[in-house]
Amino acid sequence: MIQGVSIYEILTVTTLLFFIGIYGFITRKNLISILLSVELILNSVAINFVVINKYLYPDMLQGVYFSVFIIAVAAAETALAISIIINLYRLVTSVEVKATETMKF
């Protein structure tokens, strides 16, 4: 628990972080930056878990553990995404989102 900082303030920050991530996801043109935005989202969630655990239910560590798993899974996810992006780059020499619009309607 941080002195002088209430849970509301932290949650506001994480929520902002979450929506910044989403904004980034929707607007970035580069696949890598989209991936970064995803990380933002996941991080906001991870912080949420820790904060809620710490501020509200400090006697059990459920939230903290959860955040650890989120980080781990996020890593795997990123690795996989990057590998696919690399493969895509090999095929079309681009990491722009535009390169992934061949299938539609």
């Binding site: 979450f18 991530g21 989403i22 996801f25 696949l31 989209i34 991936l35 995803v38 989202i41 996941l42 906001s44 969630v45 949420n48 878990f49 809620i52 655990n53 509200l56 239910y57 059990m60 459920q62 939230g63 553990y65 959860f66 798993f69 989120i70 899974v73 795997a76 996810e77 996989l80 995404a81 696919i84 992006i85 493969n87 895509l88 095929l91 079309v92 390169a99 992934t100 061949t102 299938m103 539609k104 309607f105």
Partner: protein, 475 residues
């Protein structure tokens, strides 16, 4: 601690063992025998499926994180059979196209891990286990979607899936944090859900993540693109196994954990069901590519499943499970035929099927049965699945929704008949020539056909599900 209690995780352990065995085999088996690895994998999974059918005690593990009941056991077996059929249908493709790229074993490993993830998701007793299961089931499929690394579409499909999935799971997790904040626990049994705004917000965001996996509108957009780009087996897996499991989990959660929010989510299901049916059907009407076509069709099917959820009782639960089971067989039948033909000729468009019946009558008949089952035409199973879902919805007085549902069945029948039209009504100069499928494909299709023909009319099965779905409401 008594390690024998770990036997409750029999499904999971065996599957993990298979995974490892495949790795070992990949290392041990020589280059020229690699083709047999495919047979080996299928055989192993068949054994696993057979063992899975043995009875299993109910129980709880890891302090409530992992639960197994007759119901989950039963459903895992349904998934097993589905995957087995899928593997049988994919065997030819693996042997002919994939082994040469040294990637056959990976296919098995990825599918197995994804299935493992689904097991965990189904048996989850808390949100952590649930999350792990969810991610474990999604990530390998993303890899599989991008499996054909030489095709741009495949990579595109993979990237679309993984990005959308990440967003969905992020949203879902955010929702979970909200619920964690209000209820004080992540264990399902210890959470006390009350209809406060924050809980509802959490629930809705969580639901979005799960709806993504079931491809309910408006969270479904990834579906068609991913199915089209991914190898057929993967599309098939996504549309049948992964979707079925997710729908099952959604039902369990709604009926138990989120029961206090019933007044909220019933309306939600109503609206989403409507939207999903219409969106799925309207998009399906104008598809040419069969994979895309089946993608939208499976979206519409998901909409129907929600009808069963409206009846929060044994009837609703039974009809949903029953429908999912039937859907597994029907959709696998359709994908199997697409797979068989695509392997042989590379053709995946509806027009390519013109005159198919005159050259390949048996395949056409399988397709016909599968499509009729999807459309809900008696006496094949799909009819019973659908009509029972409608019955469930009607039991709560949602007659208007049932009516709209059946109207959607009619729209759906239209596009299913377009395929039938191509196969049966049309004549074509360059119809797909006659070919003989290999025995595994034949076996796979035969099982689906038997399933389609028998399950619907075989009432003891329904009654069995009815009995075990009672468990959901026990606690």
């Amino acid at each position: 601690m008594d390690f024998s209690s770990l036997l409750l995780m029999r499904h999971e352990f065996i599957l993990t063992a298979l995974l490892l065995l495949m790795i070992v085999a990949e290392i041990v088996v020589s280059e020229q025998n690699k083709k047999n690895l495919v047979n080996f994998g299928v055989l192993l999974f068949a054994i696993h499926t057979a063992i899975g059918l043995l009875p299993l005690a109910d129980g709880v593990l890891f302090g409530g994180m992992f639960k197994t009941t007759v119901l989950t056991h039963f459903f895992k077996s349904v998934l097993n059979i589905g995957v087995l059929i899928l593997l049988l249908q994919s065997a030819d493709w693996l042997r002919d196209k994939v082994v040469s790229q040294q990637k056959a074993t990976e296919f098995f490993m990825l599918i197995f891990s994804s299935l493992l993830g689904l097991y965990f998701m189904i048996s989850a007793g808390d949100f952590l286990m649930f999350y792990i299961g969810l991610e474990l089931s999604t990530l390998p499929v993303a890899a599989l979607a991008a499996y054909e690394s030489l095709k741009q579409k495949s990579s595109e499909s993979g990237i679309k899936l993984i990005l959308s999935a990440a967003l969905a799971s992020g949203t879902s997790l955010f929702g979970i944090t909200m619920m964690y904040a209000t209820s004080g626990s992540l264990f399902f049994d210890m959470m006390t859900i009350t209809a406060s705004n924050l809980t509802i917000l959490g629930f809705l965001m969580f639901f979005a993540g799960l709806a993504f996996k079931i491809s309910l509108a408006p969270f479904h957009f990834w579906t068609a693109d991913v199915y089209e780009g991914a190898p057929i087996s993967v599309a098939s897996y996504l549309s049948v196994i992964s979707k079925g499991a997710a729908a099952f989990v959604l039902m369990i959660l709604l009926f138990t954990l989120f029961r206090p929010l019933e007044s909220i989510w019933v309306n939600l299901m109503y609206g989403v069901a409507l939207l999903t049916m219409f969106i799925g059907n309207l998009f399906a009407i104008r598809q040419q590519n069969l994979k895309r076509f089946l993608a939208f069709s499976s979206i519409a099917q998901a909409g129907f499943i929600l009808l069963g959820l409206l009846s929060v009782d044994q009837l609703g639960a039974t009809t949903v499970i029953y429908f999912i089971m039937i859907y597994v067989f029907s959709n696998l039948g359709a994908f199997g035929v697409v797979q068989a033909i695509s392997n042989q000729t590379g053709k995946e468009n509806i027009d390519d099927y013109d005159g198919l019946y005159r050259t390949n009558p048996k395949l056409s008949l399988v397709m016909l049965l599968a499509l009729f089952s999807l459309a809900g035409i008696p006496p094949v199973a799909g009819f019973f699945g659908k009509i029972f879902l409608f019955t469930a919805a009607a039991s709560q007085g949602y007659y208007l929704l049932v009516f709209i549902g059946v109207v959607n069945v009619t729209i759906a029948l239209y596009y299913y008949l377009l395929v039938v039209r191509a196969m049966f009504l049309r004549k074509s100069e360059n119809a797909i020539p006659y070919f003989k499928s290999k025995w595994m494909m034949k076996l796979g299709l035969t099982i689906t056909v038997l399933g389609i023909l028998i399950i619907g009319m075989y009432s003891p099965l329904y009654e069995y599900i009815f009995e075990i779905s009672n468990l959901i409401f026990k606690s």
